[in-house]
Symmetry: C2
Subunit: 501 residues, 2 copies
């Protein structure tokens, strides 16, 4: 069990272990027998603890390392204890079922273990990521010759990178010289503008960057959770009038809940007017660029200074497959790093390229590889068909909700989600607070009974009545009939809650 995955012998060592994993995955899925394991989190945690204790090598039972039993048992346990996004009744989050193709490609990344922080740890993978970033820059409408970017762990890291570059760009301008590495000056109050439906990673990035969460100005949204462009304009004017610095506007292209796309052209106009950086969080909505039908939703994205994409959402990759793109490579300067053991100047002069200065990380798995394999196998057109299939499912879900007497739709789907709530029938459960309680409880009931994994969220605002349920449809093989059955299960769980309330 100390055989390595590399070298000429690696594939031979891997083969029986991969067989063990496949057998255990099938065994665990059969034991689960549905979208998630039946029971409470406590029951599952106890099972995990017991299995780990049984396998504890320090207890001195048997010769450690002699066989694949721990691999088999723990893999079967992981499969049994998973929520499976490949099950049509698992439709809660932007948590896609990966393509087998992408998973197989990811095995090559694990086995060879290139690390993108220096050429001599990843010769081919360095070239491959560079070319993939060109393809993706082209996809968002950037000029691949002047844009740049990097693979990230996801939208949260990509949004952080966009806001970091925005911060350092604003500081450099304010100081009239590069200050990005020299700490935050006391001076004009920095402001970031994002809608009330923007991802919470915007606040998180502001805190991490030392700007503070209060630097984020929350712009109101309309009923579809799209940023109100007039409200954004007014907020920017108030900021400038108060002598504050508008560092960045974060426009969301595909909000987590409704898939709403903020008005990108208006945001770009306002960013230009106020000298603010425009970052577009297209972690979810970027998938629309793969579909001829949906791509127009993102019109204007190419005017952003930076963009987040996540191929582990509408891209069917196993996590992580995040992408950060910047329109102008020179805006990336604050991240440049010279590490004497990774990218010495004379090696770069001798033609050895380095991606070190493109990433916040040092060691970095070649997540570009699986995306490149997927794109070269299915093409944009093939992936676009999967996006369209999920989009159609969301519309079918919305129509089903609309026609159901116990369910109420929030708004028409934009991308691949449908947001709704269950309507209690007992009069005393109809007030907003009681209705929230029933909706939250019915979702937990579906989890506990192992029946379904549906999403739950809250609309922006204050007070009760904002809890909603959500189907996030990312499985292109789900059928319209599956969606109907899932919604009927939701309604039945609501009725069961009412009966017990």
């Amino acid at each position: 069990m100390t055989a390595l995955s590399g070298g000429a012998e690696g594939p031979r060592a891997l083969r029986p272990l991969l067989e063990t994993v496949l057998d255990a995955l099938a065994e665990g899925a059969a034991r689960r027998g549905g979208p998630l394991p039946v029971g409470t989190p406590k029951e599952l945690a106890d099972l995990v603890a017991q299995t780990l204790a049984d396998l504890d090598t320090s207890a001195g039972t048997g010769e450690p390392g002699a066989d694949a039993e721990p691999l088999h048992r723990l893999t079967a346990l992981l499969a049994q204890g998973s929520t499976d996004p490949a099950d049509p009744f698992c439709a809660a989050h932007l948590h896609c079922p990966p393509l087998s193709l992408a998973v197989a490609a990811d095995l090559a990344a694990s086995a060879l273990n290139p690390s993108q922080d220096s050429w001599d740890q990843a010769p081919a993978a360095t070239a491959l990521e560079t070319l993939l970033i060109r393809d993706l820059a082209d996809l968002v409408g950037y000029d691949p010759d002047t844009a740049t970017g990097v693979l990230t762990s996801g939208g949260t890291e990509s949004n952080l990178m966009g806001l970091m570059l925005a911060r350092d760009c604003a500081l450099t301008r304010a100081a009239g010289r590069p200050t990005e590495l020299h700490g935050l000056p006391s001076g004009p109050v920095p402001r970031i503008f994002a809608s009330a439906a923007a991802h919470f990673s915007v606040q998180r990035a502001a805190a991490l960057l030392g700007l503070g969460e209060q630097a984020v100005v929350t712009v109101p949204v309309d009923r579809d959770l799209r940023m109100d462009a007039d409200a954004l304009a007014a907020a920017l004017h108030r900021c400038t009038a108060a002598g504050e610095t508008p560092v960045a506007i974060v426009a969301t292209a595909g909000t987590t809940d409704t898939g709403a796309v903020d008005p990108l052209h208006r945001a770009a106009d306002l960013a230009a007017e106020h000298g603010a950086w425009l970052h577009v969080d297209a972690a979810y909505g970027g998938g629309a660029l793969l579909s001829d039908r949906l791509a127009p939703l993102l019109d204007g994205v190419s005017r952003a200074d930076s963009v987040s994409l996540d191929w582990h959402k509408l891209g069917w990759q196993p996590a992580a497959a995040g992408v950060f793109l910047a329109r102008h490579a020179e805006s990336y300067a604050p991240l440049a790093r010279r590490a004497v053991y990774l990218n010495p100047a004379d090696d770069e002069e001798a033609g050895y390229p380095s991606l070190l200065g493109l990433s916040l990380r040092t060691t970095r798995r070649p997540d570009a590889f699986k995306i490149a394999v997927t794109l070269r196998t299915l093409g944009r057109a093939g992936l676009g068909r999967l996006v369209d299939a999920c989009h159609a499912l969301a519309h079918h879900a919305a129509a089903t909700v609309d026609a159901h007497p116990l369910l109420e739709l929030h708004t028409a789907p934009v991308l691949t989600t449908a947001v709704f709530h269950y309507l209690p029938q007992r009069p005393e459960l109809r007030d907003p607070a009681a209705r929230d309680t029933v909706n939250a409880a019915l979702r937990r009931r579906l989890l506990r009974e192992g029946r379904a994994v549906v999403g739950r969220t809250e609309l922006p605002g204050q007070g009760p009545g904002r809890i909603r349920l959500k189907l996030t449809l990312l499985n292109p093989h789900t059928t319209p009939a599956d969606v109907e059955r899932l919604l009927h299960a939701v309604a039945a769980a609501g009725q069961a809650e009412e009966a017990e309330a």
Copy 2:
């Protein structure tokens, strides 16, 4: 090619694709026929570009998605174009050859695709990570009942987390109330103390956190690159006397180049005296904790407020397998996040746990799984034997260098690296600058000729004469004879450079 990896059908869909990958890995390794591909980066990049162009689906050649040809060709290309850490002549970086066992376990993570940001995306994986963190807290000597932690993308992210908590702890204390989310106050200048041999991610974190790189006070090191504790004490006194705030001390347990371990007890004493946070970067040296023989090197690590470990270094995991540990769970408060769609309060009250507030990321691959499988298969004892084997190889390398007339050792190995340089024989190449040039060039010659991947670094300080070569010995199956042959190849490359200089 749109089959999913999950569900009952997933293993069946995966099996032939995994066979394709194994065949292509073997084919690519055979084509490479050594530790790395022969040639220049440009030649390899051209090959990658040509292969991607051949497979371009938008060119309209053939029906996209019909077969596994792109998977096969790109995997073979990645293997051919890799530096293979499983080859004894690939010994440059903290870039380990993964265990087949860990790679097989990682396949399960990809196929099931749990995401650690909510229980309902990762029921068993949530429990498993929680228990693994307890095991790892115990390994560093923390009380598992009061410590906490999370899997990270590596030491860079772990160091960032430690310094973020240190910053927010200092700000809270300075303000007498929680300010961590409210931006950096103007006030006492924050300072971070790290040695001249600490990892560059410390500066990077300071810049990202808005403290600025100049917040990092560089403490001198001795010849072994160990932090000078008296110099640290003096620097802290100067800081306090100037009315500045000593936010954190970063002690390195295993510097990248020499594996030096800073004086941890002295650092802990000084941190306590000055009210500074102690972060120990044990990304490399943490592996010593697996070995009974080497664990005493890290005596004192349990006094740190936070620790970085990397199981993709001395742990033989494919990237990423970083770990961040904090001694007191309550110090983690600044990261706590309530996201209505991920961890609503009523779900937590109902027993659904959430790891969201432990990580800087949102979507997060279950990297804990492969570590848990490895630990339960080999045990600490089995992994310790691998650490000891690499440690012994480093000592053999040092002895071989010492005995070689053309090579000069820097200092005795601490962990698993040997730092040295080639001694030019031609008198005009013996001055420090010329010697540097020869050493840098001989390393590139070994790369270009596909013979070996050896490390190159620079000792701290100014001026020429600081370039050193380095063997980072992380392959436990490498033999002493392999190490001798590798060092002879280095010397031969030096002679070839001299002949051409």
